[in-house]
Each structure stands twice: as C-alpha cells, then as structure tokens.
Subunit: 353 residues, 4 copies
C-alpha cells in the first residue's frame, strides 16, 4: 500500500498517519523525494485503505494489486494443467495443448434424453459430459431438476460414452453426494461468492470448475478461486460465462477479453461457456469460435438431442448436427494459436462396466 | 405472452407456431386486426420465450411483466406491515408510518464493543440492533467473524438496550442456530440468489431482511423474495444496498430510485443501507437523508463506538455523535412525506432478564 | 505517478524504466525501503501510464488522481457561487444557501404552451425557466424542436415572469444564436464529450450547465468542465441526470451519491435533473426530495401546463399542481441541511419591457 | 405497440385508453380472447409509450422492436457491400467475402512516422490506412492532433502505398475539409449521438465508419446509422470498439457478441476495433482473432512503426512485426467461416501521382 499525502500536508499530519499505521504493526517507509510525501507500507496485517484515506492530510491511498496469492502468475509462472486422475477420461489434461470441449444438456430430464445426447456429444468430439440435476432458477416456479436420480442418469450416460462428468453443486451439504457421481464439480455463477461452499470445496480433492459471477470483477473471481486453493485443492478451472451490462440484445455480454487478461494474471485454466453467455443457439457458434481464437483452454457447450422439447434452456442448446459443424470449424481455428482439438471419436463404450 | 409475427408471415408459419404452443397445453388467441398477426398466449405451463422467438415467421415475443406473484402489488394492494411478535421490540411495526432505524457495528468484535455500541445506537433512536457474527468476505484472508460467541454478545447487548436483533445468515445449515439469537434474519447481497438458503427461509416464521444483490435487477430481487413467500413466510423486508455500475468513485451506486419503483411494484417494506451503499462515513448521512426523503420504510446504519479501531468496515461506520446528528436531521425530513421517526429513547434495559 | 516494480526485479530492469521516464523529461525518485522498489515520477510532461506498465520488471503503475485542475477542490477550497450578472433574475446566486429550482417544459411547442407553463413554474417558486428549441433525439423520426422561433417564445415567457432562461446548445455553431436568447447555456448528456463545443463554450462568458454523460465517470465529467474552465469561462454548473446501468425498471439510475462525491472533489455547484433521471412523472417527486436531502444546489424539473398533450417527454413532466406540492415538500426538507428554498412568488412581470 | 390492460380493468378505463390513442390519430384493434384485454395500436404518428402506461387500468405497454427502418434486415435482406468508388483502393469491397483490415497509427505525428507506418501496414496486408489529425481527448491538456497538416501527411502516405484513407471527423463544420483528404469518414464513439454531425454526414456521399458509443445499446447505434441513411447516404459501416462495464481490468469490454447480433438485425457491414477495445497491445491480437472468428467484416488495428515513441496510444499500437504475425494468424482463421484475408502485398506505389 502506498499513501500519497496532500501537497500542503503538515509534519503533524504525516506523523499522525505514520502512528496510525504503526499501531497496526505495519512498517512505514517515508519518501520525500517527489512533489508529494509518499509512505510505503509493509506488513502482514491487513488494513482497510479507507481507514487511512480519511485521515487529515492524506490525498489518496494506492493499493498494489493482487490480493490473491495462490491464484496468481507471480506465485506460479507456469500454466496449471489438471490431469483427471480417474474415471472414464482418466489422463485427460485440462489446460494443456488440447482445447477440451465439455458438452451436454442443461438438465437431466430422462434416461433416454441423457443417453441420446451423450452419444451425440461424444460423436462430435466432446471429452466431458455436462448436465444439471440440481438447478438454480431465478423463479421458484421453474423446473428445479431431478436431483440424485438425474445424477445417476448423467453418470451412466457419460460412462457409457467414455466421457467424464461435470455437474453443478449448489450447496456445501450436497458436495458429498455429488462427488459420488461427478468427476468435476461445477460452481454456478450465482454461487461464486457462496463462501461456505467455496471453503468446503477447498477440502475436497475433486477438480472444481468455477464460473464467473454475472457481475464479478476478474479480481473477485480470482479471490473466489483463492478460497478453494487456500483450502488445499489445487485443481481449479475458471469459466467465463457472460457478464451483466447495459446491453439487452443478448442475455449477457460474453467477456472474451477476460481470456487473455486471466491468462496473464493467473496460471489456472480458463474455459468459456458461450451457451449461457449468449442465451441463443444462433449466437453460440460465433462465440465458441471467438473463445478458441482468443486462447480459451476449453468450452462448455449446451447440446440437446432434441432442443425443441428440452425442459430448460432449449433455445440455447445446439442440435447435434450444429455441434458437429461447430467442432469442425474449431479444428480449423485452433492451429492459428498453436492448439489442437481432438478428432478421436471412437467409442470407449462400456467404461467401468 | 404475446407473439408478434413478421409482416410477411405465411399462414403455414402461423399454424406451426400455434401448434408448437398448443403442444405445451397453452391456449392461443389470434388477432388479425393490426398491421401484424398477434397471438395472445395463456395457460399455466411455463414456456421459454426464446423457444418461440426462434420459430419461422416470428418477429418478437413480448412478455407481460411480473413473473413473481405473491410479492406483487397486484396480489396485495395494501402495504405489508410486519409487526415483531416477540422479543425486546415486540409490537414494533416495520413498513408502517414510522421510519425504523436499524443500527450497529459491522461485526461483533468483543463484549465491550458490542455493549458500548448498542448503548450509543439506542441513545440515538435506533429500535433494532445489527451486527454480524458470520461474515462473508471476498478474500479468504480477511476477518471471518466470531461465530456463535459473537451471536450471544449481540443478543445480550440488544436485549440490554431493549432492541431487537438483525443478523446475517450465510447458509441454510446456520438458520436454526441463528434463529435462537436473532429476531430478524438478514440475507446478504451475495446470497440473494442462494436458492437453497431462500427455500429454507421460506419454512421459518422469522422475518427476513433480504438485501438486493449487487447486480440484481429489481425483478430478480422480487423473485428471490417470492422464493421465501412461496414457502409460507410472509415477513420479508427488502433492503437496497447499492448496485454495481461503471462508476468507481463510490464503492457501489446506491439506487435511491429503487425505493419508489419497488413501492409501486410490491407491497413489501423497503429499507436502505447507505453504509454499504457508499462505503464511506462521510457519504452515509447524505444518502440516509436521501433514502428517507425518497420514501424508505427504514434504514440500516453502521455505527461503532470507536470506528477507528473497528476490525471491519470502520471507514463506513458512523461515530455515535454523527449518528445522533443524522437522526436529528431525519426527524426534520420525515414529515415532508407524512412519516415520523421515533424520538423515544428511554432505556428498556434488562429486557428478558 | 508511482511505478511499483516486481518483487523479483533486476537492477537492469529498474535502470531501463528510469531511462525511459527520463527520456520524456520526467524526474524520477527511487525508494528502496519497502518490499518493492517504487519510483516516484514528477514533471510537467504527460506520459501514458500503459507505456511504463508494459516494460520488463514493472508490477503496476499507480496514478495519483485529479487529472483535472481548475475544477478541483485543491485548486479552490471555497464553493463557487455563480451570480447572474444580467437579465430578469439578475443577482440570483447559484451554489449559495438557497436551493434554486429551474422548471419548464421539455420543448417549446407554442407561444401559448410556453407562456402558461412559465406562469405555473413561477407560481410554484421556480427562479429559472427551462425549455428546448433544438432537441437531440435518438431517432431521426422524432420531433426535433422549433429552432429560433422556439427560442424567442421561451425568452419572452421567461421575461414576462421574471425568470432567467436555460436552454440547450447542441453544436458550437449555435452558441452565438442561443446566447442572444438564453441566460445559461445547457450542454446535454450526449454532448458532454463534444470537445469542439466545450472549447467554444470556454470562450464565452455565459454560465454553462453541463449535464453528466449517461456513462461518464465523475472524473470524466470534471474533465469536461475543465475544458470550459481552461478556456476562461469560470461559470460552470454541473448537473447529474442519471447514469446507464443494467437496471431497466427506470430509464436511467439517478446517481444521488454523485452529489456528496462531487461536492468533495470540486467547488462547482451541483444540480440534479430528476425528470430525465427517472423518466416518469410518478418518480420525479421522490427523487427531487432525495436530491435536496443529499445536498444538491439546485434542481431541473420538467413541468408542462398540460403534460398529456405535450409533444415530447409529457410522461416525465409534472402537472402544475404536482410541482407546487413538490416545492412545499422541499421547503420542509431544505432546513435539515441548513438550506432554504425561496417562497417569494410575486410576479416580476414585464421585465425588460 | 400493444397495450396490455390490467386483469381487473373496467370498460370505462378501456374506453378512455382507446380515446386517448385515437386522439393521436392511431387506430386501435381490441382483442378480448385472452386473460387480459390487449389493444393493438397502429398508425404513422409516434406516441410516447409512457403516456399510455400511466393511464388507469393499463398493466403494461409493449413495443414491437425496430424503431430504425433503413438500417434493418427487414428493409434489406441482403448484406450491404460498399465498393470504394475512387481513390487508391478503388473497387475494394467492404462487407463482401474478404475480411478487410484497416491499419495505422492513432495520430499523425510527422511525415516520417506516417510514411514508415504506412509502409509497414501495407506490407502486412492492410488495404486501408487509418490515422487521426483531429483528436478527441478526455483532458484539455492532452495532445490534440496536427490538424490539416496531419491530414495531408496521412493522405500522401496512404496514396504512396495504394491504400485508402480513413480518418475521424469531430464536427459538422470539418466535413468539407476532411472529405478533401479521406476516402472514409470516421465518427468516433463520443460523437455517436452528435446528431448535428450525423445529419450532415447523411448529405455527403462519402462512406462513413460509425463507431459504437461506449455505452450505446445496439439499438441506439442502429438509430444513429439511421440518421445517416435517412439523409440519403447509404454507405455506412458499423464499428464495435468496446463498451463500458464494471470490469476495470480492461479499458473497455469489447462486445464480440455484438457481431452476430448486428449481422442478424442489420444488413450493414460490421467492423471491430480491438485496439481501443482492449487498450493494450498484448491483448489486441487475441481480440482481433476473436472478432474474425465471430464473423466481423473488417478490423481497425493501431500500428506504429515505433510504438514506444508514439505521441498517443503507443501502448495499444502493434509493432510492425506483431501486425504481420497477427495477419498470418487471421489468414488461418478466416476460412473457418468461409472468408478470406487478402495476401496481396505488391506495392501500388505512386498512386495518383
């Protein structure tokens, strides 16, 4: 922290500020060389900068960025690559050279829907399967998911196709249950600052896909990742899914520029969810291509074997043929940035049977 | 829902849209009188408007507002007045003629701090005491609260002064514990869409003060209230505390206009928290006055008997003398809108002993 | 400007940064006392901070605020009070103890409408009359104003009632014309960064009312005021009129907190326009009261003698009776902050005849 | 416009609303089939929807989108392709199969800088040259451009390399001057709603590149285009350059999703400016790739032969080698969406000599 004093500051005022800082066991280094007196502040104690800003004679308090530590590039210079340690996609690397695609329906609706959609996703080249069993919905009158029954459907379908399963956990009390079915735990945008949940996820050793809150700054997002990392769970994947802006022509504004920004600030893998980011099927492919072109490590794409009959988010789900077409386009784009997208589509059916 | 067709729509396209709607058991009423065919849609089933918007020949789908029901003025025309049914402030009416002030520290820090601050708040005219024992913090490295020990301190101090206690619940699993100490349960801005928590709060019969999420629209806020109301708990108080905008000169932008807007859309009481809304002590009084002038039913004000030594949010806490000054100003303003602010300050000490 | 180096910075990197700064004739003061090397930078040359931020070994560049000078409280500690030097309201003080109200229609429509509305405004207690003759409209198909004919109508009606006239100038080429009719020149929100216009206004000696752009930060707003001040015109009034946020329940979000913030950063008077800020008549009074309670120096209120027949912005215009009711409420509120609102309503008719 | 009545509306209230609409020569078609009475409103007169919304018994007024006409896809289904009619790039098609790149410095600084940068841009594959001679700057103390002398430099350098020139016009009074030098007139973000300027540009027959305002909705942007089109100038190119959001890690948030959205709503070509959108050289390439992948018709890229010595915006200008590298990446991406990027780099030097 740097405390910049007013040009007309008195010696008494400087002394009072120094005393206030030292009261909190902070060490202060005074610099008189410039046009204004500047106090450099160091120490392990945290102090609210506004406390100092309101003292007499203080012009401004400037903070050196990076309140997060474990999530920062300063802490770890090399990219974190998360390797799945078990399950049908054992050995799959997230954050490596390959751009990894997670696909699947918004919600598990029935055994048939889940199985048919899984087959379509796998055929298109997805390595992970996504789908919700517990759904956070803005309205209490909307479909809330099938619960554990849905989890079992999703897991069975994913394993049948040899894909790992990513699914959302909405509450700390659900972690244990969901871990029995899923390979990656997803934290939804509305829960990005559910600190009780984040702390518990820090205690597991299952990878966590942490969506960015709809109005979270990148710094807040990394601080939420820090909650998980600080608990000892180093396997965090960040996922951009659109921010809230004044523009209403799209549901959210997918912040593509967050990709290069986060890659510079942090070593964690960054995925993008263009389905929630745009909210409309006819915009998903354009934004998925943009995300890969901008350097995303992976994508989350909503696919449904029959979107017109989906119980939730059908309008933003791709038809299987659209998904295959998109994957073909992505395979052209990835090499422009030295990446690849897997084309292997042989069925690893019967995994775990 | 109203479906507006394109000017060049064909009869086949209209028929296909009608068929799609009827497949979902919705009744359709066609109107050909205007420049465009318009389909009025009725029924109890919910349908995602985007599903229809993407059909051939559709120009636009317009939704009639108010996805919430129990929270709306249409459902209940008269203002909801919540009367505290027990505790030290038994009989106090929230949402009535009197503007009610909740005051207290950000966090419980020590028995002494909690008691001295409570006395100052009561002296100024506060009827309810606020303070946190479980704190949601953006950084895992910040002070996280004293937990149950803090709850006991807060309750004891509030009762000593004859004030009811408002405190935050961060997780559904905490409700039972916190209800043993508090008279009103507060849901913080970051948890406004923690649906697991909201559902559980619908099952209690303790009043809930629901803060607006930092980027929540008023509609989403009312939908979150609807979660609680739909569970059978009719005692919901809304609390505006600032929204996130591009402006960085204030921590948040306190949305004063939300007060008249919500009063028109809903029958629920609306409180305002100018301390979190501005983040700085020297802006709190101006915004508190503005809130009362705009019609707020109550205020949440952070007060600390010694803000300079507060463990959290000291910079936005008022000194006791500032709080008394503010209350005096508010007593001038309230009559301009036909309201009053209590001046009774006799100590109801020893309540419940 | 302060340049904070990385913790692992090398001496060569520090030397390169110093050399780069000195190349631009900036003086550099190095401080080694803290955990990081910090360079204090001084000089009259401007340098883009990003230039330095991208050099090797630099962690961050921190800027001391206040790129504006003449508009700042540091430059002038006392409040600027603008006294009208001529015209029907000669001697009226803007920014002094009295809260001044500017009222009138959105646009001049006819001689009768302008005269009847002026009489109603004056009766309610307005000291200045407002109304547009050149209207900036988002759509080319909307009513664009009556031009010079409208200006004459507005001036005549204002003088008849003894009020000064405030009207909008949309382009530098219009200044000369409009100055012949108006006592205060208004710059609309969309033109807040029309620098050609601002520079020309710096050359006049007519007071300027500068509306805040819909997405302008307070700093940008003060920089636009600086353009006018730097040209030698010291009579600038700032006017908050709502900012663009994600919330769509109101047309804009009136930023009431901007009032205390600007009063702290600048010595210029701050007015508030609750009519454009809310866009709806039934919200105007609440926000006008809030603005005065928060410390605004003046208000701009749209009034129309017959809003239901207005050619533009009828829905946000008050009926004369509503305006009188509002003024009565404001007279109760103003004393809470040591201000007054004039009650003198005698007609100064025939001014200048 | 559709007027939805309240469920408990009375016949008298319906009659009053109908009368109000008919007073404005609007025709009303009443529909009683659904749960609520709905009035379909038609006619050429414009009416402010808020006028009706405030009448008794009205639940809500819903507007059919598209206040713009000439800019909409409904008006013209096929993509507009603008073919340069004269100048060094005569015959170049904007909005066709080829993705066109406009490159150049922020500002003209000297004859040498302009010439060397032009050579580098042409070598990389740019077909148009960009650069400013009149600069809109937030601060009155920043470099304001070289004026006409700069225009001559830019034109000469562009012609020497066989490139067309794009430059900014800040005020209606400058159009005539700038048209003598430039092939395309650029309207900056801050002037997107300078209606005086837009109207004058409607009278020219020079193509206009219209940047999106920093907080303009897509609808407002298209309405500004409508101003130009309505004047008879059909050659409008839209250019996305970043919107203002709460995120401060980037200067603006480049709204990549605006590309597919605008392509659906309008027939006009859409360009993207990743240099202003991100504000930092190290983010430009990622966003340029994303824009092309999402379907942009063209790019504006800031390039400087020596960015470290640029007088303005050096930090967001690419080095010539970076520009060439980016162009190579874009040539890989374009085919993924059926587009191409020209590789022809032979020098058409001496054009017009």
């Amino acid at each position: 922290m740097l405390v910049v004093m007013r040009e007309d500051v008195s010696e008494d005022q400087v002394a009072a500020v120094v005393a206030r800082l030292e009261r909190d066991q902070l060490s202060v280094h005074r610099s008189d060389g410039g046009a204004r007196v500047v106090l450099g502040v160091n120490g392990t104690r945290e102090i609210d900068p506004r406390t100092i800003e309101m003292l007499e004679g203080v012009h401004e308090v400037l903070q050196v960025r990076e309140p997060y530590r474990l999530a920062s590039r300063s802490f770890r210079a090399a990219d974190t690559v998360i390797t799945l340690a078990s399950g049908p996609a054992e050995g799959l690397r997230l954050g490596g050279d390959e751009v990894v695609v997670v696909a699947g329906p918004c919600s598990a609706e029935s055994r048939d829907q889940v199985a048919r959609t899984a087959a379509a996703c796998h055929r298109g080249g997805a390595k992970l399967y996504r789908g919700g069993a517990f759904k956070p919905r803005s309205s209490p009158y909307s479909f809330q998911g099938l619960g554990e029954e849905g989890l079992a459907m999703l897991r069975d379908a994913a394993r049948e196709e040899g894909m790992a399963l990513v699914t959302e956990v909405m509450d700390a009390a659900q972690i244990e249950l969901i871990e029995r079915y899923a390979d990656i735990l997803q934290v939804g945008a509305r829960n990005m600052q559910n600190f009780t949940l984040l702390k518990e996820l820090g205690r597991t050793r299952t990878p966590v896909l942490l969506k960015r809150g709809i109005s979270a700054t990148i710094e807040e997002w990394l601080l939420s990742a820090e909650y998980i990392l600080a608990g000892g769970n180093e396997q965090v994947i960040l996922c951009e899914r659109g921010i809230r802006t004044f523009e209403s022509a799209t549901r959210n504004t997918l912040d593509i520029s967050a990709i290069p920004v986060v890659k510079q600030m942090s070593h964690l893998p960054v995925f993008v969810d263009p389905s929630h980011g745009t909210g409309r099927r006819d915009k998903v492919a354009a934004m998925a291509r943009a995300a890969v072109a901008a350097g995303a490590d992976g994508l989350l794409i909503e696919v449904h074997h029959d979107p017109d009959h989906a119980l939730s988010d059908g309008p933003q789900s791709l038809h299987p043929a659209q998904f295959e077409q998109l994957m073909a386009e992505l395979r052209i784009i990835a090499p422009a940035i030295g990446r690849s997208i897997c084309v292997e589509t042989e069925r690893r059916s019967g995994w775990g049977r």
